[in-house]
């Protein structure tokens, strides 16, 4: 019995160590991301700016340009990763990701419409993209609702609505070929020139979403056993599923409205986290959140540094590094680690 107890403690200790390690990784990525770029700050400069402020060009760059950008990157990564875990859990489908519930298509069409049709109103891009993303996911839920949600119907409805809106995006780009270049940054997803106001937009969703998902983690675990089993264990099915879906949509919409269509994080990170800590959402949520934050901030740093002074949109770096890594996972351990 004592050996058994020790095993339990070891399993927990290992998982806690993973989460702690990821937290340390986040801090490291955060500092590295502040240091490197077209302006090379020294460690001591970064620490003095973070602790006591200062003035001059170095302070301006670190405090008003790099810091908000890094914080935004981390929050966007966190939101997309949590949204992905949540959706994969609710739909019990390893292919589910924020783009499935229309986030990308909704934000894409409304964002492209603003940038192409009303270029003067480009400051409205973020709120309009948010509205587009969130309302599209509501439309998809309405379409899929039939005495409750069925995951398959939800996914198919998402695919259908997404291709419908995708046609709209393509049409706009075909009719206004001269303005396409202004849209590209948004379509690919990037974080250049993000400021404190962007942090202000996404922060409330990141905090509220993380807290509420933490509370719902236990129920999501039960939902994974199947609808009937979950009900038999006392989970009110539709209200739980609806709150999880709304949370996932809100977080993804907030992320996409700030950073553009960064689709891949929400698919990749949950699978990496599942390989690290298994399928218990009480561990999976914090692991994915930290992993998403670290990954996106790291990719953004690479995007800034690798072809300096030209900056590559972070979406491209994400896909270039993420896709091969994902395929590698698929090839090695992933078979035993499907959700």
């Amino acid at each position: 019995m004592s050996r058994e107890r020790r095993q339990v403690r070891n399993a927990w200790a290992r998982h806690v160590a993973v989460v702690a390690g990821l937290a340390v990784l986040c801090v490291l990525v955060f500092l590295v991301s502040l240091r490197f770029g077209s302006y090379r700050a020294s460690w001591s400069e970064i620490l003095s700016v973070l602790s006591s402020g200062g003035d001059g060009a170095g302070y301006q760059i670190i405090w008003n340009i790099r810091l908000p950008r890094t914080v935004t990157a981390m929050l966007v990564g966190l939101c997309l990763a949590l949204s992905g875990v949540c959706l994969q859990g609710v739909m019990r489908n390893p292919l589910a990701s924020p783009s499935i519930i229309g986030i990308s298509a909704g934000a894409g069409l409304s964002g492209v419409a603003i940038l192409i049709l009303f270029p003067d109103a480009h400051h409205l891009l973020t709120p309009v993209a948010f509205l587009g993303a969130f309302s599209t996911s509501l439309v998809i839920y309405l379409m899929a609702w039939q005495q409750g949600f069925q995951p398959t119907r939800l996914i198919l409805s998402g695919v259908a609505v997404s291709s419908f809106l995708g046609a709209g995006i393509s049409a706009l780009m075909v009719f206004y070929p001269d303005r396409v270049h202004s849209v590209l940054g948004f379509m690919v997803g990037g974080l250049s020139a993000r400021a404190w106001k962007d942090v202000g937009i996404i922060l409330p969703y990141a905090i509220a979403g993380s807290v509420l998902l933490g509370v719902l983690a236990k129920r999501l675990n039960l939902l994974m056993l199947g609808d009937e089993m979950a009900v038999s264990l006392g989970v009110p099915l539709e209200s739980t599923r609806l709150s999880l879906l709304l949370l996932a949509s809100l977080m993804a919409a907030a992320a996409v409205s700030v950073a553009g269509l960064l689709g891949f994080v929400g698919l990749l990170v949950p699978h990496m986290a599942r390989i690290m800590v298994g399928s218990d959402h009480r561990l999976l949520f914090p692991t994915s959140a930290l992993l998403g934050a670290a990954l996106l901030a790291a990719c953004d740093t690479v995007a800034r540094v690798v072809m300096d002074p030209v900056e590559i949109p972070v979406g491209i770096i994400m896909a270039l590094l993420g896709a091969p890594f994902f395929l590698y996972l698929l090839h090695t351990g992933f078979k035993q680690h499907r959700s």
């Binding site: 339990v8 399993a11 056993l225 009937e228 009900v231 038999s232 264990l233 599942r274 399928s279 218990d280």
Partner: protein, 281 residues
Amino acid sequence: MPLKAEHLVVSYPRSSDVLHDVDFELRDGELATLIGPNGCGKSTLLKALARTLPCKQGRVCFEGRPLASFKTQELARRLAFLPQSLDAPHGLQVRDLVSYGRHPHLSWTSRMTSEDWNIVDWALAQTALEDMQHRDVDTLSGGERQRVWIAMSLAQRPRVLLLDEPTTFLDICHQVDVLDLVVRLNRELGITILMVLHDLNQAVRYSQRILAMAHGRIVGDGSPREVVNPALLRELFQVEARLLDDPYHGCQVVVPVRSLHARHIRREREVATTGPAKEAQ
């Protein structure tokens, strides 16, 4: 009476009624089994009793109260339901899965207390799973897995347990193992059990009461000897069968003789008129 169905009508979305006017009572402490051909509504009845399907007409009462008046969590503290063919998420340990059975007894914020863990230990002991409590559920055999799910239901400490085909997909040894466990839960712990079984001999041998269903209605209700007879088997399953006495268990054994299915009969006639030689070609 813990569970009572009154004029129950149930249908799936956009289809005709699956249950018509089902009326029956599950008595306290009994072990009852639903039998009937595929698609007769056995599983549907179980789901309606567990409130995973809504009733179109009529109602189900649990401990004298309409089922609809219970909160999901409140009901789950007294009534446990194990659906068919369950799948555990990858990498979940037996002990953790069994601990999910305590969920109905926890509030939003409270965590598992040592008393909850004692109940988990008790459920693991009842189902003889102590030795494998730290293994991943998906490394176990089918029979062991079924015991894990039953242990999870036990951790709910229910008064009534509904089991949908607990022995399907198990080999004969694990079937007997699971059914012996079910009988023990009923006799020693006093849990009222209603289950669906496909094997008539197991139904006859293990249950005190048989409910026979056909076309969404209950057509036979009573002790195995009262209900299971050649006439009922012909009506329910279109099969000609004889009943023999089992000298070891004091119950009867169903021995099927031939199918009375219309298609089968027609073919037999063809063989009779045209002769076996032609059939052989």
